[in-house]
Amino acid sequence: MTKYMKYVDVTKCDGCRACMVACKNWNDLPADPQDFQGSVQSHPKVSADTWNVMQYIEHENGKGDLEYLFRHSACFHCTDAACEKVCPENAISYTKYGTVVIDHDKCVGCGYCVQNCPFEVISLKEYVDKNGDKYRKSQKCTMCTDRLEEGLQPACVTTCHTGSLEFGEETAMLKKAEQRVQEIKGRFPNAQVYNPQGVGGTHTIYVLAEKPSVYGLPENPKVPTSAVVWKDYAQPIGKMMLGATTMALVGAFVTNNIISRKNKDQDGGQGHE
């Protein structure tokens, strides 16, 4: 199955934020008004009701020139997704397109994924059901996987007017990104492709005008070591221990009974002396 990728060329973006509302519109997400952020930016970061946020950064480059940088920030859809790894309910899974999606029927709102995402793009949201009972679900960009299944591109990509967002076949997108970086090196010497290998590469890749840290992105994101220790070692061992202990006790119980039957006439407390 061909893998697909969302390509984000931040240098073509003019910060119009149509992607933000296209997402809300397609996914029927409610408004999530915030306090004044001190810039044009509307939300500090993505949230359960706001799956992509346009970042606005005033950056003075080495030459002393002002660059007004924008970044469409959303889920990266990692190839090795920490959220998928830590989910205790197997509610998070990879799709055939390479996207990472949350099954809300399975999600119990534990928030493990929220805390382990190296990009901090997953959030919990509390809902109230018909009976007035509260429940939580974790939420993030789905890359409009429902649209992909119908042969349509993600809503954000569909609405982007500058070609800053594209969606297409993985190798083509990667090639495009590499080429674009070469094109813009003149104006942006620090330009680079952001497709971090620490998480096995991502299905949202960026052409960044500056170093990742300028955008508040980790230079070297990876699945947290704790998550690896936990999911690859602690939990299997824990389960084993649970099993082994149980087996030991069952064994003890059985042998105990056999021996006491054998020693039927004897005092069980014989050894006390």
Partner: protein, 190 residues
């Protein structure tokens, strides 16, 4: 309803969502005709109507998806050469012009000195407005000025209209001038 030439647009309007697939950029990985009526796909079986954005002067095409007597989605009209399916934030949210809880749904009247609106029916409103218009016009009408026929009232003003359809602006311009209104302005100036 939509008098578009016998091209795929008409197909779009008449057969609803099925045709949108033709319009919206396809990925090619879905062999089966997209928009199969997958249950829950939000614009499946929706009616699609092309419109033009009501905001700025660019004139982008928008598709309005309606279902169950509400607007379920709005997106760029890929056929419109001006925007080729792309939109800004305002155009994208056109849907909320319909769904917003703040929409006025009934005529409201505020009596002199009152501190509240009162709901009234359309007929009463328009009858009363017509009456006020006539009263003011009749009381202020000037037929001649310095021997020149001027046929005007300078006591009634009409403002606005930059968001109206051409046909509406035409009728408004015609009606106001027909009444002799000279204070006729709209947003071109502000």
């Amino acid at each position: 309803m939509v008098e578009i030439n016998l091209n795929r647009r008409q197909f779009l309007k008449l057969s609803g969502a099925t045709a949108v697939t033709l319009a919206v950029v396809e990925l090619g990985f879905n062999e089966k005709k997209a928009y199969a009526q997958s249950k829950g796909f939000k614009i499946a079986k929706a009616t699609v109507t092309p419109t033009i954005c009501c905001f700025c002067g660019v004139g982008c095409g928008i598709l309005v998806h309606t279902k169950d007597n509400t607007v379920v989605y709005t997106e760029g009209d890929p056929d419109n050469p001006i925007n080729e399916g792309k939109l800004c934030s305002k155009g994208t949210t056109l849907r909320q012009l319909y769904t917003s809880e703040k929409r006025l749904t009934k005529p409201l009247y505020r009596a002199p000195g009152s501190d509240k609106w009162v709901e009234k029916d359309w007929n009463w409103m328009l009858d009363t407005i017509a009456k006020r218009t006539k009263e003011t016009r009749d009381a202020s009408f000037v037929e001649t000025e310095n021997g020149i026929t001027v046929n005007k009232t300078e006591k009634i003003a009409s403002l606005g209209g930059a968001a109206l359809d051409n046909e509406e602006t035409y009728l408004l311009s015609k009606l106001m001038r027909g009444l002799g209104v000279t204070y006729l302005e709209h947003q071109a100036r502000i």
